[in-house]
Amino acid sequence: MKEKFLPVWLLAQRELKDQFRDWRILFPLLILTFIFPPLMNVVAGRAVSFAHQYGGELILDRLVPFSILIIGFFPVTVSLVVALESFVGEKERGTIEALLGTPFLDWQLYLGKFLVGVIFPLLASYSSIAFYLFMVKKQDLALPPTNLMIELLVLAAAHAFLMVSGAIAISTQSTSVRAANLLASFIVMPVAILIQGESVLVFWGNDHLLWLAIFAIMVMAVLLIRVGIAHFQREYLLGREIDTISLKWIWHTFRTSFLGEVQTPLEWYQAQVRGSLRKMKMPLILLSALAILGSIGAYHITSALMPAEIIERAAFSEGEIKNALNEFQAAAGLPSDEIEITFGFIFTHNVQALLVMFLLGLLSFGILGELAFVINIGVFGALFAVLEAFGLPATTLFLAGVLPHGIFEIPAIVFGSAGVLYFGAVMVTPNPSRTMGEVFIHAISDWLKIGVGIVLPLLFISALIEVYITPKILLYFTQ
């Protein structure tokens, strides 16, 4: 084990030494580490005084955890610079071939670069936090509780891991440092949003949610590392020299993958859709199982957690239901007047929902998409539990009100989500015969084949049934 990790450290050690000799990295890092904490301290003090002038209750103690979050984050931003040029920088300087020609394994090279990106900025981040805490102590302000302090320290590391893992993945796929810097906005923007969310959590003081956020960031970082290693190709790093986006190539690759050699829609179904379905066999099995387990789980959770007073009432007036619905619509940003349930509304709503799941999956290698899937499927179980709790004939209502269109809608959700899961799985799986771009285009094409060939027709039929048949069946059974 130690033998395998020695080369990782060897590579990291060399580059760390190099960084200590590079004033372009040292200088900003020193400023961010030792100038920013006093600045933050002064600004926080001024902010409190300002708030007091107008009767505000901003207390410096409450600003300390937030300041630690920010102070810890600034030096970590340097990690982005270091990591972004980790591979592509060596390529530009002409040192990459000598490095790639050594017996280092791909993952050793990758982790070595990862360590380089993380260690130095993280050390600076912790030094900065320590410096700030020293100043806080000097002012007789309360230090954050141990649990929160640990969270903030882990959070700084999580930020570094996330940014470095993303930046290195970009660095391995870029043809120049310039291109890598441009692509860095895909890291900077989400992380900026993340910091805002974390700031809210820090002020709110919800430890559990903060830990969940840290866990989610770590999972994303691990996935990004996995994606980076999976698509790390020495050949790619040596091969391309010029930054070009070939729309023609992108279209040709997509078209070939989506249509193949087929002539008719029937042939397309037989060759292409069937081929994609075969690839998604495992995600389909997994998600079918997850659908069943999710529904059962949601049923049990809803039954267990439903407030007793709601169950006791067991009935609501029409006005109460309408008010609740209006409140919900307002909260969800929907028009408060009654929604007309038409075929078009249901169909577009379902398509939108699947697109959102796909986009979430796209950003999180399938994870958020599958989370949305579990929530979607869980609604059935929860609904069943609610109906049962109110003493209504849940099975009859379910069979008459959900099943007629559900026969089509539920498989559509499962197929659509399987495509999302497949996308995530493909992106984190090594494929030496294809570049990351090719893998991405083929995965999108597979998802679209299932989407156009299976999901849309199923949703179309489901919406027709839901509007024209389900209400009649429901009426028949409930009268």
Partner: protein
């Protein structure tokens, strides 16, 4: 040590290298010659396991370049087109870093590093940042890196480019001294004199394919025809009256020289000498005319170009 079979590399729709057959045994030096973009570097990169062959296979020091790429890279010393040096390090640190990569122990690292720095005349600047070195010094250090682990296979891409004549000579001598019964060397070069001086076998690559391969003499015979000889006379002499065997092809005839080609020099040259002696001709010298690799290369390229058209 180096074997390839039908080795090919395709980039998009373009075969950069196609159907390369090599067999470089231990103790031999192969020179790969060709224009820029002919496929020499691509071949070297495939032999290092840096590029995955699109077809065919290659084994280096007994290891498959695809399945055992890490072992292949342990066995080779590669000098790349770009020197690939870390400019903020010193030469000592640099060689020590690569020594560690190849898992040499501390004593051996120091010994090898000291020797190489001394040999290449870098000992005095060994503790200076590489960034301060001249182009030639950098190239020498890159070669030292290639040799630090005494690899059984050396792949050298333009080893003497950017070097002054003295340094280039030094490097050439070093490469020649590296020839051993346990080591195979492949050199890519544009320097035909260098190839002629070092190589046991020469392969000329054109548009990804090996068009000619063999020993220098074999290539000369193949491309330029049989060996040529020249008789020089110390005084004007009329060669017209000489009896010349039919197997000799006369290339040039003057009162001071006679230049001819023969496929059987042992027999024909002996006959010619006896005839000249009988005639009491004022012979000054009889020698094989020198034909350079450059002539071979240029003629081969002209022929290949003509074929391609």
């Amino acid at each position: 040590m180096i074997q390839t079979e039908n080795l090919g590399k395709k980039f998009n729709d373009f075969w950069a290298v196609d159907n390369i057959q090599l067999d470089v045994k231990a103790g031999k030096i192969l020179a790969l010659l060709g224009q820029n973009g002919a496929g020499k570097t691509t071949t070297i990169r495939m032999l290092t396991g840096l590029l995955r062959p699109s077809r065919g296979w290659a084994r280096v020091n007994g290891h498959d370049v695809v399945k055992e790429a890490s072992q292949v890279r342990s066995s080779v010393g590669v000098l790349t087109e770009q020197h690939g040096l870390y400019l903020r390090m010193t030469a000592v640190e640099y060689l020590d870093f690569f020594g560690k990569i190849y898992r040499l122990d501390a004593d051996l690292r120091k010994k090898r590093s000291d020797y190489l720095l001394e040999y290449f005349g870098l000992a005095e600047v060994a503790k200076e940042r590489i960034g301060k070195y001249s182009k030639g010094m950098k190239q020498k250090l890159a070669l030292a890196r290639t040799l630090i682990h005494e690899p059984p296979v050396l792949l050298l891409d333009e080893p003497t480019s950017a070097m002054d004549p003295e340094s280039a000579r030094l490097v050439r001598d070093e490469i020649a001294s590296l020839r051993s019964s346990k080591r195979a060397i492949v050199i890519c070069t544009h320097n035909l004199a260098e190839a002629e001086m070092l190589a046991d076998e020469i392969a000329i690559i054109y548009r990804g394919k090996i068009r000619l391969k063999g020993t220098l003499d074999a290539l000369k015979d193949k491309v330029l025809g049989s060996a040529e000889y020249e008789v020089c006379f110390s005084a004007p002499y009329n060669v017209s009256k000489l009896k010349i065997p039919a197997s000799m092809e006369i290339l040039e005839k003057t009162t001071s020289t006679l230049r001819f080609r023969t496929e059987n020099p042992a027999k024909d040259n002996a006959f010619l000498l006896s005839e000249l002696s009988k005639e009491d001709a004022p012979i000054l010298t009889l020698e094989k005319t020198s034909r350079t690799l450059e002539e071979v290369y240029l003629k081969a390229m002209t022929e290949v170009n003509r074929e391609m058209q």
